[in-house]
């Protein structure tokens, strides 16, 4: 399925500075896998060493949190938007 993954500002530096990436995926795991294959630097920001999605990174399919769907096995349909939403603390950083 062609889907769009929206890259949040803090992670764009590791994704070729792109705001979003279009790719083919049948479920969320495939979409994120495709993304980290294309942008290897993203991997450590999305997954912990044991391969789990990091707990300060949430993934949404359209407006729904995948933790309340089928997690990374959540099926994707044509045109779905996958959003990666990490926590940000705010402030200007020094």
């Amino acid at each position: 399925m062609p889907v769009k993954v929206i890259i949040p500002t803090p992670l764009r530096a590791y994704a070729g500075k792109q705001e979003s990436v279009e790719l083919q995926a049948n479920n969320v795991a495939e979409a994120l896998n495709g993304l980290t294959l294309r942008f290897g630097d993203l991997k450590k920001h999305l997954y912990s060493d044991d391969g789990k999605l990091r707990s300060f990174v949430n993934v949404y399919v359209n407006d729904e949190d995948i933790r309340y769907l089928q997690k990374d096995q959540t099926q994707l349909r044509d045109g779905d938007i996958v959003s990666i939403v990490p926590s940000i603390a705010g402030g200007a950083h020094n």
Binding site: T9, P10, F56, Y60, D63, V85, S87, I88, A92, H93
Partner: protein, 397 residues
């Protein structure tokens, strides 16, 4: 969806009946003639007690609008002093305030804006020791802080006290806003059970913030706070509002209460405040470990060696937009590109790597050492220290 508020904006009706003076009626007339606020809403505002944690970029529009709207009691928590880099976005302060405690400058400004309201000031860093005591007297808490430990602290204290927490955070040109701690609504830990580990927080290469962004996000927090007080409209509960100022786009995501949340779930394991610095890991700009382990040169030593005519190759690992602000004439390879462009460097020459403060260049030195470079030094303190110790004409940023 949460039901409409019964937030305790009306404290137990033991106090004398509240009314508006003739002057207040005139001041708030644009509220009073609007049925959604009206006299009833304005009196609720007058009786309301709101605590603003942080008086910086988010706290500035928030404090101004709450004071202007006639919120009767506003608490301000901050321990910082105004510096000139704040003025690009922290619109509570003027140039004359540089060097003053933020609390003093902020309360002066708000008292000038509205002398009829009470301002409580807490010139302290919010901590596990003082948070419950400071928060307990307020109806609504507004989180305008800028770091993870304080955000988890504010969240936990608000949930433990049963108070709504109007949350806003920003990064460069993107913001997030929601209302946590509402009856039956989610909390910050439902959204993010844990903070990022220190190694993964953005470095100064990725920092910065568009000055108007906290103005927009803080104003949305103000709007939500006023709505909670007067009980109008749909509060931003169970919804995470995302704002991208570059795309100029708002998006809304569903935010659910997590039944397994350790704080507000069905079987909470966090029943009192914890050590939030430990919870979030030791963090900050100056990560000591890599900096002490790489060979260094001080700005004065570097200057002396350059003056002697030593053959030194200056490598600048900052970003191109930083190079435009100021530079030492070095060869620019941003840290993130170093692995791809390492062939541009001659390992037979002695290399001095620098960045803004010395942290990124320490990483660069480590990387190059692993890549087989032997004659490589890190400029201690970066271009900031160069400006302090060698050439004050180099601007600091």
């Amino acid at each position: 969806m949460a039901t409409k508020s019964e937030i305790s904006a009306n404290p137990a009706a033991t106090t004398a009946p509240v009314s508006l003076s003739k002057e207040e009626i005139l001041r708030y007339s644009r509220h009073l003639i609007m049925p959604e606020v009206g006299m009833e809403g304005q009196l609720k505002l007058k009786q309301a007690k709101v605590l603003c944690i942080g008086t910086g970029g988010l706290g500035a529009p928030l404090g101004l609008y709450l004071a202007a709207a006639g919120v009767g009691r506003i608490g301000l928590v901050d321990f910082d002093t105004v510096d000139s880099t704040n003025l690009q976005r922290q619109i509570l302060f003027g140039t004359k305030d540089v060097g003053r405690p933020k609390i003093a400058a902020a309360s002066d400004r708000l008292r000038d804006l509205n002398p009829d309201i009470e301002i409580d000031t807490f010139e302290t860093q919010l901590s596990s020791d003082n948070a419950l005591d400071i928060l307990k007297d307020y109806d609504i808490i507004v989180d305008g802080t800028d770091n993870f430990p304080t955000r988890y602290l504010v969240n936990d204290a608000s949930v433990l006290l049963g108070k709504p927490n109007v949350y806003g955070s920003i990064f460069r040109f993107e913001g997030q806003v929601t209302v946590f701690g509402y009856p039956d609504g989610p909390c910050y830990r439902c959204l993010y059970p844990e903070p990022p580990p220190p190694g993964l927080v953005p470095s100064c290469a990725e920092g910065g913030v568009l000055g108007v962004l906290p103005g927009i996000v803080g104003s949305i927090q103000a709007a939500e706070t006023l709505k909670l007080i007067i009980g109008a409209g749909d509060p931003l509960v169970g919804r995470l509002l995302l704002f991208d100022a570059l795309a100029m786009r708002f998006r809304e995501l569903k935010l659910r209460k997590n039944p397994d949340c350790p704080l507000c779930g069905t079987h909470p394991t966090i029943t009192k405040l914890i050590d939030y610095v430990e919870f979030c890991g030791i963090r900050g700009e100056e990560a000591p470990a890599p900096q002490t382990s790489v060979p260094e040169i001080t700005p004065r030593e570097l200057k002396a060696r350059l003056d002697r005519g030593d053959d030194l190759y200056i490598l600048d690992v900052r970003e191109p937009h930083e190079y435009q602000i100021c530079n030492l004439g070095g060869h620019l390879i941003p840290l993130g590109d170093l692995s791809k462009r390492v062939n541009e460097l001659d390992s037979s020459r002695e290399i001095v790597a620098h960045c803004r403060s010395g942290k990124r260049s320490a990483e660069a030195v480590e990387f190059l050492q692993r890549a087989g470079f032997r004659k490589i030094l890190n400029l201690k303190g970066g271009i900031l220290a160069w400006s302090d110790d060698v050439d004050p004409s180099v601007p600091k940023y």
